[in-house]
């Protein structure tokens, strides 16, 4: 079975800082893959390179067989890659329903009119925002804004969903609910790449983890294995010699 996403030699430099350094990995359809690493290790930059916020300096990205490295974000979105942002970015002047409609109208669904509106409403129901269809994002709590952002991403009918710390800042009950939601999406055939610091979520959700440090891949494998890897522990906690 060929990979849904195949990344090789991905690099991006910001001035003197090599934020992502010859990074490579692949994801098979149906997987939930965790992307871990200490702060500043380049995780969000990798997502930005994949989704088209940034252009890579070098390297290739193949998504569903299309070469997408350096392609504009709207093309990548229409191929079926959706994402959420680390700090929520709802479209502030649009109602929740219209936020979701953007993905339906301009993504692969290409839906408009009454059909699109009812699809938007059912996506809002699915993430637990059915009561807030006409609300503006500013009226929602932080958690509900995260739900909204997820619904907007799902409106693209994605095959691959990139979640950038989507579970961060949730209380234990919400976290459990969030984990259930992600597992449900995976059950419906959506492949997921998640950047996450919440270890409980990583252990219970991820089939496989990639660990980054200073822009490079330092470990990959089962969650329990990589979290026990001495080099991973060193990356997070520092060398014995430093202590």
């Amino acid at each position: 079975m060929s990979a849904l996403l195949e990344v090789a030699g991905l690099s991006r430099r910001f001035g003197g800082l090599l934020a992502v350094d010859a990074f490579g990995f692949s994801i098979t359809a149906g997987e939930i893959v965790g992307l871990l690493g200490p702060n500043g290790s380049g995780k969000t930059t990798v997502l930005n390179l994949l989704s088209g916020v940034l252009r890579p300096d070098s390297g290739t990205v193949a998504f569903r067989g299309h070469a997408i490295a350096g392609k504009p974000a709207h093309r990548i979105a229409r191929l079926g890659m959706a994402r959420t942002f680390q700090l929520v970015r709802p479209l502030a002047s649009l109602t929740c329903r219209d936020n979701v409609l953007t993905g339906l109208a301009f993504g692969r669904r290409n839906a408009w009119g009454a059909t699109a509106r009812s699809e938007a409403d059912s996506l809002l129901d699915r993430v637990g925002l059915g009561r807030a269809r006409e609300a503006l994002p500013g009226e929602l709590t932080y958690i509900d804004q995260k739900r909204l952002e997820l619904a907007r991403a799902l409106a693209l009918d994605p095959e691959l969903l990139l979640l950038d710390e989507w579970l961060a800042g949730l209380n234990p009950t919400e976290l459990e609910e969030g984990i259930g939601l992600i597992r449900g999406l995976s059950g419906q055939g959506i492949t997921i790449l998640l950047v996450e610091h919440v270890m409980d979520a990583i252990r219970s959700l991820c089939h496989r983890c990639l660990v980054m440090n200073t822009g490079k891949l330092i470990a990959s494998g089962l969650p329990a294995e990589v979290l026990a890897d001495p080099e991973v522990i060193r990356a997070y906690l520092g060398d014995d010699a430093d202590a």
Partner: protein
């Protein structure tokens, strides 16, 4: 409800169309002034409202329209003159749009202002060096009432277009871009194409307004046709009325056109400084425009 709205619009347009029959010369010239600024300010808001790109290029397109008329009015039939103006406007707008709408915020404002000056200088250079005359006479067999009716038709068209955009995918795309362009792109919106399309649509109306207005002057030169005050006036009017609603700009055009008329008659030497003060007052006191005030007042009791 929908039928009622259409019926009201038809009655309003018919009433406005009868104005030249009851107004005197002075009244008609005021009506022409208001009609032309209504088209300009509404067209300006079509683009600048949702995208939040503040354009000072209004007069670049207005002037191009006026010059197209000046050049072709004696050799071509009038509808053809308007058609040529439309074509020239579209070409210039597409070139400008494609090359500048990747700029953001303040860079675009400065560029748009520079564009108007650039076009003015180019026309001046061409007239001085090639045709060897700086001004042109515009002799057209067109009455003031006919100019008014054409502007009214243009106003109806710009409102119809705005109404359609508000309900179309393009409208949703533009509101999303105005909120957060990166997010909009990640929802599959081709932001550059949407912005260029709207910029072209918006500026065509400005070009046509200039083309229709040119015979009013009988004589134009680059300083008249590309007067930057026109760009600023349109901006003030649109901001006063409110750019978030289609009907907003006209609420700013009518009071300001009347006020400017009064100021120009009473304080001809201090006109510019008065306009500047009006601008400051509007931006500080009513940032969401009259349309925003009206909606705020309507919403509060609920």
């Amino acid at each position: 409800m929908r039928m009622l709205g259409v019926a009201l619009a038809v009655v309003a347009i018919a009433a406005l169309a009868c104005l030249p029959l009851v107004l005197g010369d002075y009244g008609l010239s005021l009506a022409i002034n208001i009609a032309s600024y209504t088209v300009l300010a509404t067209a300006w808001s079509l683009f600048s409202g949702p995208t939040r790109y503040v354009s000072l290029a209004t007069v670049a397109f207005f002037g191009i329209g006026a010059y197209t008329t000046a050049v072709f009015v004696e050799s071509q039939a009038w509808p053809l003159v308007l058609l040529i103006a439309t074509g020239v406007g579209i070409v210039v707008a597409a070139i400008v749009g494609l090359s500048t709408l990747r700029l953001s915020g303040v860079y675009f404002v400065i560029f748009s202002f520079g564009l108007a000056e650039l076009v003015r200088q180019l026309v001046t250079w061409f007239e001085v060096n090639k045709t060897r005359t700086l001004g042109r006479y515009v002799f057209a067999d067109i009455t003031a009432a006919q100019i008014y009716w054409q502007l009214l038709a243009l106003a109806v068209l710009v409102f119809a277009l705005g109404f359609w955009i508000g309900r179309s995918r393009l409208g949703l795309a533009l509101r999303a871009i105005g909120d957060d362009e990166t997010v909009a792109r990640h929802s599959g919106i081709d932001a550059t194409r949407a912005k260029v399309a709207l910029f072209v649509l918006s500026t065509v109306f400005m070009t046509l307004t200039g083309a229709i207005m040119a015979p009013r002057w009988t004589y134009i030169d680059p300083a008249i046709a590309f007067n930057p005050v026109i760009s600023f006036t349109v901006l003030i009017m649109a901001l006063l009325g409110g750019v978030h609603r289609l009907y907003g700009p006209v609420l700013g055009v009518v009071p300001l056109a009347l006020l400017f008329e009064y100021l120009l008659a009473r304080f001809p030497n201090h006109f510019s400084i008065m306009v500047g003060l009006v601008f400051i007052v509007i931006v500080y006191l009513i940032p969401r425009g009259i349309a925003g005030l009206v909606e705020g007042a309507v919403r509060k009791p609920a």
